[in-house]
Symmetry: C2
């Protein structure tokens, strides 16, 4: 047997029950707002899931001692796909998103914290469903943290090993034997961040419901809003600053917060990835603000900074919240945002994209390459935070970036069969693969993904999953090597 199917099925059973429980808050919201259609849809999803999940758990006998790397990849990929399938039930059953491919896209977009939507009028949906839609961001954000910090390193995903090698304190340095402990700390930080943002959003006229929606979208770096005009709906600079700061916090390496909790500020602020991240955000904000001001897009420097700060933070963290229709901005500002889409957040954050640490390593690789041209016999080691990076980690990074660019080009090629302009096409792929949300032109910040065919929506859903799971987890499943035990 190539895979340990029994174990995989049993884990699916557990996942189904957990997911049913995670739908209960949304059921409660529907009930509070007296939305019977949404309530019924949640009940019609939760009850069968609880039944089926329980049956699987109690009937399937699995041996978890013999899980191999292959099983690990299969389990991770299956969990995310299954969650997206089951999570789409309330949308389909309620009739608000009747098409399966639409509902699947919307749910994948939620769990992967992408925030791309196929809805043409978000505000038509009942509050309970919109709550579920945003809650998937929050679940996804936490899932990613546990996945990237606790589980993926076990599967030998080198890109993640960097994190361990770099930012480790006493606990994270020996992460593998203590998964449950480190997961607990992550949960606490994530919970704390969530509650803090909700509290900071409440003063003023934002309702608790809205505050929760916006918090789920920002700490998960998702970007779903309950308004068609996203955060621009409030037109409130205070909210924008709070949300932007929390997006940036969520895009920071969460293991650094461990240092912060221990008041090890030197370790926190000397982290090379964090410094580059802050540098990119600051530079992007300034460049865009200057460009906006001098091109006359806004009348004052203050307004230019306000919109450029929010949008830079939103795009680099791959959240996708919008306070201005940046598709109308001048080409330079758009190009800065387009580049930010590829860079993405820090490693071990809820953000997507290529990740800042990999960009940093690429720069160092290039610098070394230039040095070698001049001194062909030189041996130059690459260091981050004063520690040398092993060569297999570097190959992992190189492979990742090539695969990322490869999927981007091939994906754009396939999506171009829809015959929309190339900016729409390329930015849709970049925005889904990087888990961002809005792109440019026809998938711009005030528009949505409803223009695509079912087939394209399904493909974009796969790109969201691939981007979220650091590519290899999904790509592996499509290789001969994976399914052929002799290879």
């Amino acid at each position: 047997m190539i895979l340990n199917y029994k174990a995989i099925i049993k884990i699916s059973g557990i996942l189904i029950v957990i997911l049913a429980c995670l739908m209960l808050p949304s059921l409660l919201v529907s009930h509070i707002y007296g939305e019977s259609d949404a309530s019924n849809a949640f009940l019609a999803s939760v009850i069968p899931m609880l039944v089926v999940g329980s049956i699987i758990i109690f009937t399937v006998k699995a041996d978890f001692r013999h899980l191999k790397i292959r099983d690990g990849f299969a389990i991770v990929a299956l969990c995310w796909t299954l969650s997206s399938l089951l999570g789409s039930f309330p949308f389909i059953i309620s009739g608000y998103i009747p098409n399966f491919f639409d509902a699947f896209f919307e749910t994948v977009s939620g769990f992967t914290t992408t925030g791309s939507s196929i809805l043409t009028d978000i505000e038509l949906l009942p509050k309970g469903l919109l709550f579920w839609r945003s809650f998937t961001h929050w679940i996804g954000g936490m899932g990613i943290l546990v996945l990237t910090i606790a589980l993926l390193p076990m599967l030998g995903l080198n890109g993640q090993r960097i994190v361990r090698a770099e930012t480790t304190g006493p606990i994270f340095g020996k992460l593998t034997p203590k998964i449950s402990e480190s997961s607990k700390i992550l949960y606490l930080i994530y919970f704390g961040m969530t509650i803090l943002e909700i509290l900071l959003l409440l003063p003023g006229d934002m309702s608790l419901y809205d505050a929760m929606i916006n918090t789920f979208g920002s700490v998960g770096t998702g970007g779903f809003s309950n308004y068609n005009s996203s955060i621009a709906h409030y037109d409130n600079a205070y909210y924008e600053v709070v949300i932007a700061v929390f997006m940036l916090l969520a895009g920071t390496n969460f293991t650094l917060y461990y240092f912060a909790l221990k008041s090890r500020w030197k370790d926190f602020f000397s982290d090379s990835e964090l410094r580059l991240y802050l540098l990119i955000v600051t530079a992007s904000m300034l460049l865009i603000a200057l460009n906006l001001r001098f091109s006359g897009s806004y009348d004052t420097m203050g307004e230019s900074v306000r919109f450029s700060f929010f949008q830079s933070a939103s795009i680099i963290t791959t959240t996708g919240y919008v306070t201005a229709d940046f598709d109308l901005w001048p080409a330079f500002s758009k190009m800065v945002l387009f580049i930010l889409m590829f860079i993405g957040g820090c490693s071990s954050s809820t953000g997507g994209g290529i990740k800042v640490i990999r960009i940093l390593l690429l720069f160092k690789l290039l610098k070394r390459g230039i040095g070698i041209r001049l001194h062909p016999r030189a041996v130059i080691s690459i260091k981050v935070n004063e520690r040398p990076i092993p060569s297999d980690t570097l190959s992992g990074v190189v492979n990742f970036v090539f695969l990322y660019m490869g999927i981007f080009f091939v994906g754009t090629l396939l999506l171009s069969l829809e015959n929309f302009d190339l900016i729409t096409t390329a930015s849709a792929v970049a925005a889904c693969l990087g888990n961002i949300g809005p792109g440019f032109n026809l998938v711009g910040p005030v528009l949505n993904y409803s223009i695509f065919s079912d087939w394209s929506k399904f493909m974009l859903s796969l790109f969201m999953l691939a981007g979220r799971l650091e590519l290899f987890t999904i790509i592996l499943l499509f290789t001969r090597q994976f399914w052929n035990p002799d290879k």
Copy 2:
């Protein structure tokens, strides 16, 4: 002294004299067609160049025994820049391209075999100047062959070492000690190819002059035409086939022709790079033809194949000749062409771009990367033509591709300050960096680069040079490491 300046100056003197001699055929053409303005411009360029060049040669005493790697890079970069500067004299002096930045752009575009033009009406220029414009392609094409096969490997450019490792027969296997001999063989092949194409173009109503222009543009993979509508001017399928076949031949690794000359057909046809190159050309042609036919762009399959074959060959070889306004084609066809712009020709051909061999190695690297995910302890070596590729060659390839993509993104960002749409901007950078010629939208196949400011034209000229000289030669000059002898 960081550089051996005397040697560099002496070589410049030699180059100036050679370049003056290379202008003589164009002077003759101007004379034959009785174009006194062009004749005078050539005389006013040639005579001072001969005088200055001779003075330098006879007065500067240089010691060529102590040339270092740094000097090698400086000489190569200087030769190309100086050629482009001096080569622009006839355009400026004649008054047909009065602006320096325009004339420099046009000449760089010629020597680098790019074929991008700032001329809004090519047909206004005298025949002598147009002959010079196309002749620079032919000179550039030969220069590149000598450079990439004979000189660059001495400078330790790993990307080129592949060629040596892969396609070497008895002569090319020991290339370095016999530069003059291998250069001679290259000249002969290049000359033979040139004469053969001219002869094949003559039957019919094409003049000798036109046949030479089109041949220079195709064997040099340049793409300058003497008509505004490029090869579409003739609307003749025979000419199109001849030109397309010669573009493809010029985009093939020239060292393979050595095997062909020795009737070693097995070595020729088993070359992995050649196979991938032919596969990409065939696949692109078929995909575009099907897309054109089924989108209704052309009425018959025959026409669709005719235009898709020519355009695929023209773009992958980075020539840039045009028989159809491909900017009007459906998005899928455009995206195929856009991807071909990055792939480019084979190594050691006159074509530009990333080069097929590097794409092949990237695929193999990715395949290995996927294998390592499943078998973390496995050691998998990468082979091309059944020979293992050393790891420093692989790092060279990786560095090259990252630098290429980096320049593309940064270049697009800088060019976006012109505030044209992003497709125009990105395709202009891709077309210049890859030495192709036409891009999309405002720099599309029936348009030109006159829309850009002088500063942008200068930047694009640098990109053409960087792309032509395999990036590092130009990029190195902008690094601290190069100018700081202690590093």
